[in-house]
Symmetry: C2
Subunit: 271 residues, 2 copies
């Protein structure tokens, strides 16, 4: 009984020329023996599943197939559940994370992904909406801006693959530091993970996070927070936070989600 990786990706990952993130995911999932299940549910475009199947086949997987769950009844199909059970890796595409949570939430599909990721070595990757859905507390939507304001973010229950973090994506490109800090300010128990586009967090079963990709990952750690005014801020007003710890990590950098220690690439590789 071993746990698998969880691999949130910030969206817009390189797919053709040197797709470092997808290649690394395929390698972890078994390379030529990998069986990748693509879940295109977040997307409304009909060819999203096929498109990723082609990409994964190009990368030399054993097999790639998509399961296009489009209504809740689909999530009880025995044939599809059997396919999901045979996968070594799951890849959830971009789109709308609320489509994933409303369609898969509370069904055998969500239960199987969570259970197999925790106990059966299933590796789970997701990009954009597929990244947001992974955590217990999911950012459903919100507003742009670099500083926190009350009411700028809406949380919803996610898939629950980790209870330690809130994950945000398109982070630099859509100016989302403010909404991630707002999400953290409600209850400073969680770690914020902000993923730039074409950037992934490879989070090992022991909860060591490694950065892969061309952008940065911003870690918002409230472990030393002395004060949050979220409980008294009025709607749309700025929120005061005293003593947030921030890390910006790039390719090869690490963050340990248990000890909460960050290491840059050089130190990480020499240790």
């Amino acid at each position: 009984m071993t746990s698998g990786y969880i691999i949130p990706i910030g969206g817009a990952e390189e797919k053709l020329r040197g797709p470092a993130i997808l290649r690394r995911f395929v390698s972890i999932a078994g390379g030529a023996d990998a069986r990748i299940c693509v879940i295109p549910t977040a997307s409304k475009m009909p060819d999203t599943g096929e498109r990723y199947e082609a990409i994964f086949n190009e990368l030399g997987v054993g097999s790639a197939f998509s399961l296009p769950f489009t209504e809740r009844a689909d999530c009880k199909r025995e044939d599809w559940l059997a396919q999901l059970k045979s996968a070594t890796g799951v890849f959830m595409t971009g789109g709308n994370q609320l489509r994933l949570s409303t369609l898969l939430g509370g069904t055998p599909v969500a239960d199987m992904i969570r259970d197999r990721n925790e106990h059966d070595g299933l590796h789970v990757a997701g990009t954009s909406a597929g990244a947001s859905i992974m955590a217990q507390h999911m950012i459903a939507y919100g507003n742009e801006g670099p500083t926190p304001r009350a009411d700028m973010v809406t949380l919803a229950p996610g898939l629950g693959l980790t209870e330690r973090a809130i994950i945000d994506q398109h982070f630099r490109q859509r100016n989302r530091l403010g909404r991630l800090m707002t999400a953290i300010s409600y209850n400073p128990r969680l770690i914020g993970i902000g993923l730039d586009e074409d950037t992934a967090a490879f989070i090992s079963p022991s909860r060591d996070l490694e950065v892969v990709g061309s952008g940065a990952i911003t870690i918002v750690d409230p472990q030393d927070l002395e004060f949050s005014s979220m409980d008294s801020a009025n709607r749309h007003q700025p929120v005061s936070l005293i003593n947030i710890r921030l890390h910006v990590l790039v390719e090869g950098g690490h963050f340990n989600m248990i000890t909460r220690e960050a290491r840059p690439a050089q130190l990480a590789t020499s240790s």
Copy 2:
């Protein structure tokens, strides 16, 4: 290593003449041997802690003391943590649940309550805000009305004593069925528990819920949900939900949160 009860109360519980809920809580927490720790943090009134101490003393507890955490630094005080460690029951008062989450979240106090409730038989009760904070997913605030609308509820991470339910309070009095259904519609994995005033859910370690008090508890169970339009609803628009299962339970009624079976008082007591 045994788990304790969790006892969310809908607010405005009877305190003087026949305080059935508080008396039952005291009995579970040890009666004459009970050591009740009152946490008045949600309230801004300075006498809330003392007031509940007097009520619990009147009910014949071994001891009752309050720990008035008013800033995050208080949550690291060794003397107060030692007192919390000696408690057989915790009682969290009403006020603002965001004050509880922003002040206690991620501190040794929150960790100790969660850990002792799960492993060390600590019973945890809370009324109004103190009820809302208990769940992993907490209703921070929202709007009134009987039917669900997008954006009518704001969720935040709570204390995490249960991951199976979202808890709402002052339920009948403040017309909150709509916001509870909205909260459930994001991800139909959770059970909604709506507590009328002077009404409590005594949730056993095996997750059997029993109703105590003068009002009703409304259970919103989405296990058979066929459709939720939450992912496509625009702000403030109504949300469509197909096949929500609803139970209204009164004094003596039971709901099993694992099997999701409801039983009225007569059947529950005869079995």
